[in-house]
Structure formats: C-alpha cells, structure tokens
Subunit: 388 residues, 2 copies
Amino acid sequence: MLGSFTYCNPTKLYFGKDALDGLNEELPKYGKRVLLVYGGGSIKKNGIYGKVVEILKANGKEIYEDAGVMPNPTHEKLNEGVALARAAKADLILAVGGGSVCDYAKAVSVSVNCDDDPWEKYFINFDEPTCEIVPVGCVLTMVGTGSEMNGGSVITNHKQKLKIGHVFGENVFPKFSVMNPEFTYSLPEYQMVSGIYDIMCHILEQYFSGTDDNTSDYVMEGLLRSLIHSADIAVENPADYEARSNIMWTATWALNTFVAKGKATDWMVHMLGQAVAAHTDATHGMTLAAVSMPYYRYILPYGTEKFARYAVAVWGVNHEGKTQTQTAYEGLERMESWMKKIGLVMNITELGATPEMLDGIVNSTKIMTGGYKVLDGKDIRAILKASY
Amino acid sequence: MLGSFTYCNPTKLYFGKDALDGLNEELPKYGKRVLLVYGGGSIKKNGIYGKVVEILKANGKEIYEDAGVMPNPTHEKLNEGVALARAAKADLILAVGGGSVCDYAKAVSVSVNCDDDPWEKYFINFDEPTCEIVPVGCVLTMVGTGSEMNGGSVITNHKQKLKIGHVFGENVFPKFSVMNPEFTYSLPEYQMVSGIYDIMCHILEQYFSGTDDNTSDYVMEGLLRSLIHSADIAVENPADYEARSNIMWTATWALNTFVAKGKATDWMVHMLGQAVAAHTDATHGMTLAAVSMPYYRYILPYGTEKFARYAVAVWGVNHEGKTQTQTAYEGLERMESWMKKIGLVMNITELGATPEMLDGIVNSTKIMTGGYKVLDGKDIRAILKASY
C-alpha cells in the first residue's frame, strides 16, 4: 500500500432473502416525499414494485414516480428526472433496478438543487456537487455495476456520442441498499452474464496496474476465483441462491472503492467499451467483453509479470517449464475459453458496430494513464479493429 | 452468502505517511474538549504524542489526559477512565496507541453517560449502550486487533480471572482512524510478531467455520497470502514501508466485519488465548499462537475438507497423490514451521502458565459454537495440556 489514501464507505447494506424488510428500518429516517425511480417496468411483472409500494405506504410515504430509466441513461432523461424530483420536492430518491437506475438516481440527487446543466457540470467538467444532495436508497434487481455502494454514475449523451462516468464522493453514495439475490433471478441470461463480466472487468481494471506489492491484488485474486466458481454454477442453474448471492456480494466489493486503495488502476477497457456503447447503445458488460481480449493481448508485453501472476493465481495455470510470457498468454487463453463458455459476446460486430463507426468510436475513447501502457490513437484503432 | 445480514462500517480511514494530517479534517467536527487516551508513554519517546498535541492545539482544542492504559485494559482502569472522561466533559475521545487503547476508549465512550457498572453491563450481561455515546477517534501505533475500524472492546477482570470482548454496533465504531505505517516502526519485534499472529488468527477464526461456498473464504485466502508474504519481509526488515503498510491494511480488513459476513465464525482460539491471558497477563497475539496448533490439530478431523483447502490455497501444498487428511495436516505443518520461523511463542509455559493454573484456565474458557467441533471441558483440558 505505497500510496496515501482515505477510505470511507458509509452505505448500509441489507443482504439476503428478507433484505427488503430493511426498508422499514431506513424509511423512518427520511421525510414523507419519496421519488420512486425505476426502469422499463419489469419490476411490475416480477412483483418487486408491488412489494416496495406496500412498504412505502405502510411507512406513510407519499409516492412520486420516475419510470422509464433506460439501460444507458441519457442526458435528456436525466434532465427529465431532475424536473420530476423538483416537482415532487423529494425527501428521498428510491432507485429500484440495476446499476443504470442507481447511477441515474445519484445523478438526479446532485442536480435537483443545482442550476447548472448536470451533463456539463458533472460529466464534462467533472465538478463536485456544491448544492444540497437529496439522499438516495437502492433496491437492487440486477448485479454488476457496484452502484449500490459507491459514488459512480454513468450518463450517455447520444448527440455528442459520449458515455461518461463521474465518480462522486461518499456524500453521494446510497445511504442504504437492499440486496436480495432472489430479485435477480428473473433477469434474462444475457443480462446476467453481462453483469458477471462487468464485475470481472471491474476487478481486472484495478488488478492490471502497478508493479508494487499490494494486499488489494491478493484480495482481488480471491474475488475473481469466487466469481468464476459461482458464475459457472449460475449459468447452469440461474436459481442457485448461493451462487447468485456470491456473485451479488462480489459485485459490490469489486467496486466499492476497497480494492482500489493504494492501486494505480487502469479503466481502459471501460473507456473502450463505453465508446462502443455510445455508438451502438449495446449492453454495458457485453461491450467490455467484446474489447477485453484484444486489449489485454495488446498490453500483455508491457505487464507480463502481472499477467503471469494472474494466470497462476486465478486460472490455475501450471507455470513449470514455461517462460513468464508463455504462462501469461496461457492465462488469457483460459480466460477467453471461459468467456465463450458462459456466453459472452466476443466481438463488437455482434453488438452492432459497423466498420463505418470505427473512426467515431476511436474519437469517443477517453485515454486513461494508470494501466501498463498509455495508449495513443493508433493503439486504440488497432485494438478496436481486432475487436470487430 | 447463505445467511442474511446487514453491513455498515462508517469509520473514515486516513492511511499513509501523511495520515496524521487527517486530524485537521476531523477535529473541527467535534467540540473543544478532547480526552487524549494513551498507554505507557512510548508515544512520548517516539514523538507521536508531541505531533498529536500540536495538531490538537492548532485546532483550538482543550486537552485532558488519560494515560497508562495497559496492554490488557482492566475493569479498574476502565472505571478510572470513565471518571476522567466525565470530569473532562469530553466531546471527543482520541485514542493514541494500539488495539488495547482503542478498545479501552470505546468502553469508556459507552460508559460516560451511563450509571451502570460497565463491566457488569457490557462484559458480563452483554447489554447494548442505552446512553449517549461520546465519539471516539484513533491514531494507531500498533497493528493487529482491527479495533481501529470495528466495535470490538476487550476488558480484563483480574479478580474474576476473566478477559471478555464485547462487539458493539456501528454507533460505537471509531468515527475516524489515522493509520501511518511508520508509527508502528518503533514497536519491539516481539510486539510486531504478536500483532501479525493476531491478524492471522482473526482471519482463521472466521475461515474455519461452515462448509458452504462463500466469497468471504476466497477473500480471506487472499488476505492470508498477503499477510504471510509481508510478514516474512517485515521480520527481515521492520522498516520496510510496503510490508508494514500491507500488514496494517490486512489487520483492518481482517476484523472490520467484512469477511465475517455470511459466515458462522469460530473464535475458539481467542477464547482459549484470552483465558490464558486472564491468568498470566501475557501478550494477546502470543497467547493465540501458543494454543493454536493444539487446537487446530484437535479439530482438524471435524473440518478436514476446509483444512485441506487451506493447505493448498494458502500454503501451496501440492495435494496430488495425497489423501485429504494428509494434505490438511501438511498445511498445519507448514503453518507451524512458519510460526516458529517468525518468532511466535508456541507454548503457554513460556507465557507464564504453570501446571497449577490449568484448572483455572479451563474454567475461564468460554465455549463458542461456530467452529467445526463444539468443545466440552474435557476437550479444552486436552488442548490446553497440549499447549504447555
């Protein structure tokens, strides 16, 4: 842990089959006016909406609604949500959904009492909130982003072809999150698998950085091993509670700031994936999967030692009689086979990217500097070409 | 994660070489009257006391002192501290020291505004605080207990020959902790190594429980591997910042409630070690080390699968061509060799336990039920006999 840092994560988590009861603990702490934020309405079909509304009413709350949050929440939708939250004079924003809904709720929460355009303020200029923040709580129905216990918020601007994340401080973290693994059962397999790879990618973005000796790397190897093990079970049997609960818990700890402490962190796969999504509107985890192998093969020579460590510690590669480079590539081969096996999309063509989009995607890709190689436009083009 | 649980850990951590600057962030949040709690005065020799006092004064604080907290804080000392905190009308209790000082500060914090005898209320009856709690902050100078980010507080009653821990809720957790690995350099090697084993034991107490598949077990394997790696470096060179910082961070995460989630947890080594300490006043980590091997060898047949997993995942035992039992015992042999190598005390005789104390230590040992075998008096006697 060579660097200096602070750590604080005050989000209260209610985890398990009866987690929704946690709302009865939390709701009395806030005023009467609750803005209920959700997505396309699947929570009405699976009954979660009804249960939440019942608990809100039992706690004497007035419910205001903000529905229709899309998988990649847009600038326009954000402006709409801010107007709804203002009209409702919301005391609490309750997000019921996956990471997009939680991300969006946070973006609304820091914009309600703020006159600036939120897209400009937070996602272009990366300003910090200077106005009063409306508290957010989450009821999680999809797993992957870790948004339930962090300050992350990703918004897409289709006109500008940009999908940008702002990582807010602990004052914007959800005050509480309800995590019932059973709430994720009704998710289509495509979404489940996409979420699993989002988790893996979050860990790898933090793992593949630095050459120092850091406790976080050992913890991440543990998280990865648990994730791979549980993902295999969940793909076979999506209603395996233990596997789904392990995946849910791993998602939270992959991105609640803990394993980043003392690390440089990379995030280049996310920059590439988000650029693809800005042009295709494809599912987040799948965009990450589709660019990962080309990216990792491209940077492997610059971080061979860590890739070899990854191969042995996570994928159980036997390194005896092999060079470090051979071991490292063998790890990526195992990872690639596994990704195909669980049903991830391995190229951006399948996600709707056309050759004509290449220039645009290159231009939409933000360059990060914490990985094993700082890419330039030529590198990005080469990686994206290999992703088609 | 088969069980249901809540998780909340609001402690803010300032970590690194300039961590003490964090006091300037935190002190303005509290009133003027600060009770400075510390131990035998080593912080005056190594300069930490002077630095803390300077920052307190620069922040306009009135300083009241409570010195002389002993390694195993006593019931009598606790009563004295409560009287001092009342007289000072403390707005904040600032603990500067190791786990004992932090533990003690928490016990004072829940007793200042309470009429009951704290020993009876919290450590015999395990009541929860019902009175206003004085906030606690910590400046850590010794690593091991994890007290800087949890609700744990252990107090010893020599008359009753009892050393008992109460695990308080998040309202009693330190509001902030300052963690500068350099502050631990001046610690004698005996104390450093004792702290390292305290950390290892905390992890193992949580690891050796249950037969379920739990993400926490994978994380704990990572923490253990990092700890062993860094401990080897720190024993060779106690001023290796990276190793000492990894050990400090591992200590916090070994016992800040994270890795216990969804687990049964054992804690029987602590019960045995605390009973030894109640009769000998020996250093905490050494009492744990001295009883561990006899305990683990005794319970191994009841949890062979987990002990074999431990051998492979943590100690790198090659399991090919071996029975699970052989693999499991080989792991314990590697652990035992390592414990001796880093200088841990491997028997309670060396800690001052005499044969005449045996009956008393057996009687002082509280029986826990979360491990692989629920012990009876006969078992405890056999384990303690093997610990002499």
